[in-house]
Symmetry: C2
Subunit: 400 residues, 2 copies
């Protein structure tokens, strides 16, 4: 954990991926992030993957370095405590409904300069999830060789929404520092999805052409990039994004003359045009397929590395987890002591590395209610007697 | 454009997706983002999709609301001007190499409290791209029905890295405000990818089980969610994330009794356990397949909407672009005047919506060098004579 956001406290009332990652990134940068959940855990508390004891490996990684306060949010007293925590601290991340007891208008009555970041499904408040906004903008119809649509497995929209929400939180805080004014930033998954399709030129593209891009399997649109299989059966992705890389790749594979022959035959030059390398892929791909099929992966990888070509072998997540350079010896990971599951494994810290700062170890996720007493005392000034009463009456829960 | 980050100036020297989106998000929130490129455009300036005139619809959407300064970065004088712009403004986003003329150490000699955010491939500086880190962490081996690996088409790692970089920029600025200290935050695509696999519990899962998750096609791991096809041939994604939604879905489809029979036969209850709904999918899926196949999509969608079930039809990007609620009438979009391509279409603004603030129209991307004179005058205090000399000698370029 880096002490980048030291002094900042964020209340997080959320579940699943998007909103919790926003809190996670803040916590990994040193903010005090207090996740407030229903006593016993929110709807994501047992989300798979789980251990044999039904401890969620998902939850305990998405909520590292946070504190946990457990309240009965079904009762007015529990809801009021959550409202008071938001008002006392001034920063709030949530995916609770825009209207209701956690509406920004309600909370801003308790603290005028409040900053709220709210992850939503659709902008009108109706529900959506990563998998449903993905369909709605058309990516599954472009993924895989076809003809069936293919969902991506990575919850990409949740993740992008979460990182954007963390950015929006700091932007709104910066504005408050400059103007004194609080605000709510609403980030609907559906707007992130359609807005991204637009940012990448996809919306302009289909409106310009009046048709959809073809299915390309594992090939990359508009440049030279695809998967190829080596003599020993290893599938490798190769992507060329600069003209220098193109020249180097041809040299590395001994394909200069064969490619020059295609250029002559078709009256084009691939040297400085990504698009032509894509347009004429029918002629280029077979040449590369043959060269990859003639070489073993070890030898080929060394050749490509030496030439500065961007490539990588397809492998499984277990391969990745056991790749010591990527995990065990990667400074982003550290031993995780005290995981709620009891299982110990390398734990990830902040994605960002700051050479000027000390990267502390990754911290464990809390047990449900582990910090209820500490937080109610420190942020709401409740006495130990008052807290004991809340616990006795089931308004607040603690880890026992 | 929202005036959230008014007063902040960011120099961006970057290309492709990750680093430019970091600048884009800042620009859409009102920061002055000055993209500095090679005269004539960087390596992404003609990236597909392009118009018939070879104008990049990709570039002009990833660089909206920014300013453009064109310099000859192959010459020492051009490089020095870029260094001076970074030093004069104090905030820098880049994907240039960590060592070299844009190294943080070099730049910090000109401005001690500089904040640099650097998007990288691998942490050691070797090159990687979205498609290659994706393979390296294993997602293509989990995507689609198998057995072949399937790349996702969405550049998810680039996008996540870009949003995280924008967050990291504001975090480092916040630290500088508190401590006076500058810093560099390095964000390697590979760390974002393996760190995300860890955050989602994936690394823990494979190390715990010693094996990879099975390929699930369009089904969602660990809960009830999958695609089904209606009587009129519409494929629909349905995902259940709360126990209330499960009960509602069974009622909406009239499946209570059939599901109860499975529960009795197998000695389980699906009512409050996502995992069991997944484990027993062999029995559950056929029931739902039959019910979807009996209903037409229009009728079914209305039933599911009324019950608050999260669902969506698969459609193409052209369908999405022509969905007026999602694009034309969505307040996130506005008419785009002045696109460099000359093609007019709805332009996306910030993903976030701030009810307390005015959302201005989305701004166009600049032409290469459109703001060279303005920026060199304002941020470096150069005279018109000095600027004219730079242009005459080909050190600086302007849009003509």
């Amino acid at each position: 954990m880096y002490e980048m956001l030291g002094g900042l406290t964020v209340i997080e009332a959320s579940s699943f991926v998007a909103s919790p990652t926003a809190g996670l990134y803040c916590a990994q940068f040193g903010a005090e992030v207090i996740r407030v959940d229903q006593i016993g855990g929110g709807p994501d508390y047992r989300r798979w993957p789980v251990t044999a004891d039904n401890a969620s490996l998902y939850w305990e990684n998405l909520n590292r370095a946070k504190k946990s306060v457990a309240l009965d949010l079904g009762r007015p007293e529990g809801r009021q405590l959550l409202q008071e925590l938001v008002a006392a601290t001034g920063q709030f991340i949530t995916n609770f409904p825009a209207e209701g007891f956690l509406s920004h208008a309600t909370l801003a009555q308790l603290r005028a300069d409040l900053v709220t970041v709210r992850v939503m499904g659709w902008p009108d408040g109706s529900p959506a999830l990563d998998y449903t906004v993905n369909n709605a903008v058309g990516y599954p119809m472009l993924t895989g060789p076809g003809p069936e649509p293919v969902n991506h497995v990575l919850p990409a929209w949740d993740l992008l929404t979460g990182a954007y929400a963390a950015f929006a939180l700091l932007a709104a805080i910066q504005r408050r520092s400059a103007t004194g004014q609080g605000s709510e930033v609403r980030v609907p998954l559906s707007d992130v999805a359609i807005g991204t399709a637009a940012n990448l030129g996809g919306i302009a593209e289909v409106l310009y052409s009046g048709e959809n891009r073809p299915r390309l399997g594992n090939a990359v649109y508009g440049l030279f990039g695809r998967d190829f299989v080596t003599a020993d059966g290893q599938r490798v992705m190769v992507v060329v994004v600069t003209h220098r890389q193109w020249a180097k790749l041809l040299a590395a594979l001994g394909l200069e003359q064969a490619v020059a022959a295609i250029e002559t035959e078709r009256g084009v030059s691939f040297a400085t045009d990504d698009g032509l390398r894509f347009t004429h892929r029918d002629a280029l791909y077979p040449l590369f397929e043959a060269e990859f099929a003639r070489r073993r992966h070890g030898e080929l990888a060394a050749t490509l590395d030496a030439a500065g070509i961007v490539h990588s072998a397809y492998r499984t997540m277990l391969d990745a987890a056991r790749d010591s350079a990527m995990v065990e010896e990667n400074p982003m990971f550290s031993p995780s002591a005290g995981n709620p599951s009891g299982f110990a494994y390398p734990a990830a810290g902040a994605f960002g590395t700051v050479p000027q700062m000390e990267r502390g170890n990754a911290l464990a996720a809390p047990h449900n209610g582990e910090h209820t007493e500490e937080v109610l005392a420190r942020h709401l000034g409740l006495s130990s007697g008052e807290i004991a009463h809340l616990i006795d009456t089931g308004i607040a829960g603690i880890h026992s």
